[in-house]
C-alpha cells in the first residue's frame, strides 16, 4: 500500500542515516520530496537536491514540502 511521493502529514520521512547526511549536506529535509514508499526520502533524493535537480526550494503550493517543525517527542 505504499504510494511513492505521497504527502506526509507530519515530519519528513527519512531514516536516521539520511537525516544525518542531510544535516551534513546542509539540506533541510522539509524541502525535499521523497520518492520512496509513503514519501520516504532516499539517498538518491538527497543527491538530486545536491545536484540541483530535486525539489529544494520552499514552494508553499506543493503539499509535499511540509513546513511544520519536526514533531515534539512523543
Amino acid at each position: 500500500p505504499s504510494v511513492p511521493g505521497a504527502v506526509p502529514a507530519g515530519r519528513p520521512i527519512a531514516t536516521p542515516a539520511i537525516r544525518r547526511r542531510a544535516r551534513e549536506m546542509g539540506i533541510d529535509l522539509r524541502q525535499v520530496r521523497g520518492t520512496g514508499p509513503a514519501g520516504r526520502i532516499t539517498a538518491a533524493d538527497l543527491e538530486a537536491v545536491a545536484a540541483g535537480r530535486g525539489v529544494a526550494a520552499a514552494a508553499p503550493a506543493a503539499p509535499a514540502l511540509v513546513a511544520t517543525a519536526p514533531e515534539a517527542p512523543a
Partner: protein, 474 residues
C-alpha cells in the same frame, strides 16, 4: 588535598553524573574532548540508584515469586516460599554497586576527570564546585547541565521518609508495608504498587484523573485494569488524596464520598520537577521554560550557545533513554558534528504486569493530526508463545496511515513487551510502511510475532481493498 583557591580549566564541564551526564562525558571524551564530570552524589544518578534499576531489580524478583505461586496448574509446587526483604535489598544494592563501578571504569577508560562535589555556575564560563575536599573553580569552553529531576511532592502530604515516601524511599524498604496507599497512577506508582502487592502488601492506588497512565492508549490500560483487579490491587480513579491521619489517608472518591484508607505507608508519585535550584543558571544567562525546565533547541543548546542541557532537567519525556540520547547529541555537537535530537519517536516502557510499551502516535493522536487511520490488532490470547509462558493478557496495536501505509505508532501490552519496543521504534525511525513489518519474518514462537500479525491484518485489508478497486475498474 586542599584546593581552596584552585582554578582549573577544562574544555567541557558536565554537571551531573546521571544517565545523561555520564553518557555525554564518555562520548565527548571518546570524540577527543577533555572532559570534567561533576557529581554531587553518586555516578549513575536517579536512574541507577533510585529509579530504573532498583525498581526493575525488585520487580523481577517479585515476579519470580508471583509466577511460581501461580504455577500450580503446571504441576510446579513449592511447599513454602519466603522472601527475606533485607537480603533482597542487599542483592539489589549489589546490582547497583556493580553498575556504579562499571560507570567508574568507563569514565577512567575514556579519561574523564570525575570530580566529587556540587557545582554552581557563577558566570557564563565559570562554575564553582563544593566538595568534600574543599571548593574548586572551573572555567570551561562548553558546559552540559545534566542535573536531572526530583520527586514532586504534595503540599498537604509532605515527604517524611517515614510514612509518606517518595519512590526512592519506597525502593529501600526492608519489608513490604502491610497496607500501602499509592497516590498517583502513573508508571512509577503502578510499578511499585504491583511490586509490593506481589510481595504481600495490601495496595490501593489513588489517581486524580479518569485513567491510569494518563496519555496511554486506553485499550492497553484496560488490560492492565483487569489484571490489577485479579491481583487484588484496589484502584480509585478521579479521586483526590487528602491528608494523612493516624486512621489513614483521607481520600475524596469519584462519587464525592470521603473515605479514609488505612495506610502503613503512603507513596506519593505524582510527578517530577527539574533540579535547577542553586545551580546558578541565572548567573550564566540560561533561560527556563514556564514549567521550570531548561529551554533547549534540537542540539540541546540553551539560550547561551556554549551551555547545553540534557535529560530530565531539559524537559520532554523524563526517561533515561531520552537523557542518554541527548547526552550523545550534545557531545557530538560539542565535538563539531552536525547532530540533532530529530528522533521520530521516544519509546515508553512500563514494567507493570502485564508490561506496557509504545512508540509513536496513538490512534487518537493520529486522528487529531489529520491522518486517516487504519489500526491492526493482535490479541496475545492467540499467541503460542504467550500460552507457553502462561501469560496471555495483552495485545498489539499497529496504527498506520490508511492512504500510504506509513506506520505511525505501535502500542503493546503483554509479557516482555518492553523488549518489543525497540523494533517498534526502529520501524518509526526507518519510515517503515505496514508492508515492511508484515513482510519481515518474525521468529516463531515469540511475542514479537504479534507485531507481524497486527501488520498482516492491515496489509491483507489493504490487499483486499486494492483487489476490489481493480474489480470495480474492470
Amino acid at each position: 588535598m586542599v584546593m581552596g583557591s584552585l582554578r582549573t580549566r577544562t574544555e567541557v564541564l558536565i554537571i551531573g553524573g546521571g544517565t545523561g551526564g555520564y553518557i555525554a562525558a564518555e562520548h565527548a571524551a571518546k570524540l577527543g574532548k577533555e572532559v570534567t564530570l561533576v557529581e554531587a552524589d553518586k555516578l549513575g544518578g536517579t536512574c541507577l540508584h533510585h529509579g530504573c534499576i532498583p525498581s526493575k531489580a525488585l520487580i523481577s524478583s517479585a515476579d519470580l515469586v508471583h509466577r511460581l505461586r501461580a504455577a500450580e496448574d503446571r504441576g510446579i509446587v513449592a511447599a513454602e516460599i519466603r522472601v527475606d526483604g533485607r537480603k533482597l535489598q542487599e542483592w539489589k544494592q549489589k546490582v547497583l554497586n556493580r553498575l556504579e563501578s562499571g560507570i567508574k571504569t568507563l569514565m577512567k577508560g575514556a579519561d574523564v576527570n570525575v570530580v566529587h562535589g556540587r557545582a554552581r555556575l557563577t558566570g557564563p564560563r565559570e562554575a564553582v564546585v563544593e566538595g568534600p575536599d574543599g571548593v574548586q573553580t572551573f572555567t570551561f569552553e562548553q558546559c552540559i547541565v545534566a542535573t536531572g529531576s526530583v520527586a514532586a511532592g504534595l503540599p498537604h502530604l509532605p515527604f517524611d521518609g517515614e510514612r509518606v515516601l517518595d519512590a526512592a524511599a519506597a525502593l529501600d524498604l526492608a519489608e513490604p508495608p502491610g497496607r500501602l496507599v499509592v497516590v498517583g497512577g502513573g508508571y512509577i506508582g503502578l510499578e511499585l504498587g504491583i511490586l509490593y502487592r506481589k510481595l504481600g502488601s495490601e495496595v490501593t492506588v489513588v489517581e486524580a484523573t479518569g485513567q491510569l497512565l494518563p496519555g496511554t492508549d486506553p485499550d492497553l490500560v484496560n488490560v492492565l485494569m483487569r489484571k490489577l483487579r485479579r491481583l487484588g490491587v484496589t484502584v480509585h480513579r478521579n479521586a483526590r488524596a487528602g491528608t494523612l491521619t493516624d486512621a489513614g489517608l483521607e481520600v475524596q472518591l469519584e462519587d464525592g464520598r470521603a473515605e479514609v484508607l488505612p495506610a502503613d505507608k503512603v507513596l506519593v508519585a505524582v510527578g517530577r520537577r527539574p533540579n535547577t535550584e542553586g545551580l546558578g543558571l541565572e548567573a550564566a544567562g540560561v533561560a527556563l521554560d514556564e514549567r521550570g525546565f531548561v529551554r533547549v533547541d534540537e542540539q540541546c543548546r540553551t539560550r547561551v550557545p556554549h551551555i547545553f542541557a540534557i535529560g530530565d532537567v531539559a524537559g520532554g519525556p523524563l526517561l533515561a533513554h531520552k537523557a542518554g540520547h541527548q547526552g550523545r547529541v550534545a557531545a557530538e555537537v560539542i565535538a563539531g558534528r552536525p547532530s540533532a535530537c530529530d528522533w521520530a519517536a521516544v519509546p515508553a516502557v512500563v514494567f507493570t504486569d502485564p508490561e506496557i510499551a509504545w512508540a509513536g502516535l496513538s490512534e487518537s493522536e493520529a486522528r487529531e493530526r489529520g491522518y486517516e487511520v487504519a489500526v491492526g490488532k493482535f490479541l496475545y490470547t492467540a499467541s503460542g508463545r504467550a500460552l507457553t509462558l502462561g501469560e496471555t493478557d495483552g495485545l498489539v496495536k499497529v496504527v498506520a496511515d490508511r492512504n500510504t501505509g506509513l506506520v505511525l505508532g505501535i502500542h503493546l501490552c503483554g509479557p516482555e513487551v518492553s523488549e518489543l519496543a525497540a523494533e517498534a521504534t526502529l520501524a518509526l525511525e526507518m519510515g517503515a510502511v505496514v508492508e515492511d513489518l508484515a513482510s519481515t519474518i518474525h521468529p516463531h514462537p515469540t511475542l514479537s510475532e504479534g507485531i507481524a500479525e497486527a501488520s498482516l491484518a492491515l496489509a491483507r485489508e489493504a490487499m483486499a481493498a486494492a483487489a476490489r478497486e481493480v474489480a470495480r475498474a474492470r
